[in-house]
């Protein structure tokens, strides 16, 4: 197989851009959550995992993106290392699968998916955390309400970001 230098450079550039984008998403999430308490309800890595799952149409890339985002999110938080990684991996795969089989260009579809994925992510991360060992005195009585609130916020923000990204992508192509 012949490798052309221009093609390799272009591929590395694309990978680099994706890496920078993923790091930026996690960093922005951490900064905004620190600066604004309300931003703790948002989950930018989840929104990006879903979005790239929908748009790339390839489960492998979506799995890598989700897994990377989740692992970085775990490393910068007190969550069990791998909990968000596992959850985002599944979300990326499911989003990619759904994107290849259903029409996910509609806002209602995206909103429904974002809401469900957020609830599922919260549930899975909580279960995995309980499996490893809950923190002493931790209560989960308000967990469902928190997930619902987070799902609502993610849905609204996700719809805005999806729309903005779609217009930007159409303008550049």
């Amino acid at each position: 197989m012949t490798v052309y230098p221009m093609a390799r450079t272009s591929t590395l550039g694309i990978i680099g851009k994706f890496a920078v984008a993923l790091v930026a998403v996690v960093v922005i999430q951490g900064i905004l959550s620190f600066k604004f308490k309300v931003f703790g309800y948002f989950d930018l890595p989840l929104i990006f995992s879903v979005y790239y799952g929908f748009t790339l149409g390839n489960p492998v890339a979506s799995i890598v993106i989700g897994s990377s985002l989740g692992l970085m999110q775990d490393s910068l938080s007190a969550a069990v290392l791998g909990a968000n990684g596992l959850s985002k991996t599944l979300i990326g795969f499911c989003a990619a699968t759904a994107g290849s089989k259903f029409a996910v260009d509609q806002a209602i579809t995206r909103a429904f998916a974002l809401f469900l994925f957020t609830i599922g992510d919260g549930l899975l991360v909580t279960i995995l955390g309980l499996m490893v060992g809950p923190a002493s005195g931790a209560t989960y009585s308000g967990a469902l309400g928190g997930w619902a609130l987070s799902a609502t916020f993610n849905t609204l923000l996700g719809l805005v970001l999806f729309e903005y990204h779609d217009r930007w992508s159409n303008a550049t192509t």
Partner: protein, 287 residues
């Protein structure tokens, strides 16, 4: 990315399986606590924390610039407004202080035993002769009953007499004016005399019956004989007694009233009718 995706021939299920195994393995290791997984966090933290720090510093810098410069738009106007407000409040405070001092002075004036010498009017000093500084202008004139040769005093002592009046203003000749003279008596011995202005700060004793018993600190009061000043008002105290010059010793008298800080004065608008003329022969025995 699409080319990468297109070049990928591996089934998605395998990739998913590998990813899940890795993630589950990490979780399992943490649950059993047999292997320390903190190195993963350390790697990720070491990689991401500098970026976070950079972003945080950048946002902090932007925030600082915003707070320090952009958000200060309008602060200059507010600062000017507050300065004006402070100036106004300081002026009001100063005015209130002046009012308090004026009130104290007026209270002192009201406590004077001058009810038996006719009507008086309180006037404010509004000007001073810029050339000689031995006359002052007051804000009461003929319409207020002020007449020439009316006595002008303060609670501390004699100030002078009216020499000119207009409808609303009057000129007061101070006792230190070189053309001024006041009939006095020594408070301690009741000996009568005359003091004259020097044009300077003090008065000179122009005449007295006997200057042998004068001493520094003695107080001179108005005698009332000049028919300008009511009897018994403080004129001044002896500040120095010099050698005999002519027939009398050189005696300098410092006015009791602070003529350099006049603000309000009392002006007699009725001349005293019954001047208590003191007999020089009985002065010492009838204090």
């Amino acid at each position: 990315m699409n080319r990468i995706v297109a070049a990928s021939k591996k089934p998605a299920w395998i990739a998913l399986g590998i990813a899940l195994v890795i993630q589950t393995g990490l979780i399992s290791i943490q649950a059993r606590r047999r292997i320390d997984t903190s190195f993963v966090r350390v790697w990720v933290l070491d990689s991401l924390a500098p970026v976070e720090k950079l972003v945080d510093r950048s946002t902090y810098a932007v925030h600082s610039v915003w707070d320090g410069y952009i958000a200060l738009i309008g602060v200059h106007g507010e600062n000017q407004r507050l300065k004006r407000q402070v100036d106004e409040l300081q002026m009001q405070l100063q005015q209130h202080r002046e009012d308090i001092l004026e009130l104290q002075r007026l209270r002192g004036m009201l406590s004077l035993p001058i009810s038996d010498v006719g009507k008086t009017v309180v006037a404010r000093v509004i000007g001073r002769d810029p050339a000689r500084s031995q006359t002052v202008t007051i804000d009461k004139g003929a319409t207020h009953g002020v007449k020439p040769d009316s006595a002008v005093i303060t609670p501390a002592g004699v100030v002078g007499r009216i020499i000119h009046t207009s409808n609303f203003f009057s000129i007061v000749q101070l006792v230190i004016d070189s053309q001024s003279a006041v009939g006095v008596l020594l408070e301690s011995t009741r000996r009568q005399g005359i003091v004259k202005g020097t044009g300077g700060r003090d008065l000179d004793l122009d005449y007295i019956d006997d200057d042998n018993d004068l001493k520094q600190g003695d107080m001179f009061l108005t005698s009332g004989l000049d028919r300008v000043y009511p009897k018994g008002l403080p004129v001044g105290v002896i500040v120095s007694i010099g050698p005999v010059r002519g027939l009398l010793k050189t005696v300098q008298i410092r006015p009791s009233a602070d003529l350099g800080r006049l603000e309000e004065v009392i002006c007699f608008i009725e001349h005293p009718q019954n001047v208590d003329v003191v007999d020089p022969a009985q002065g010492a025995s009838n204090p």
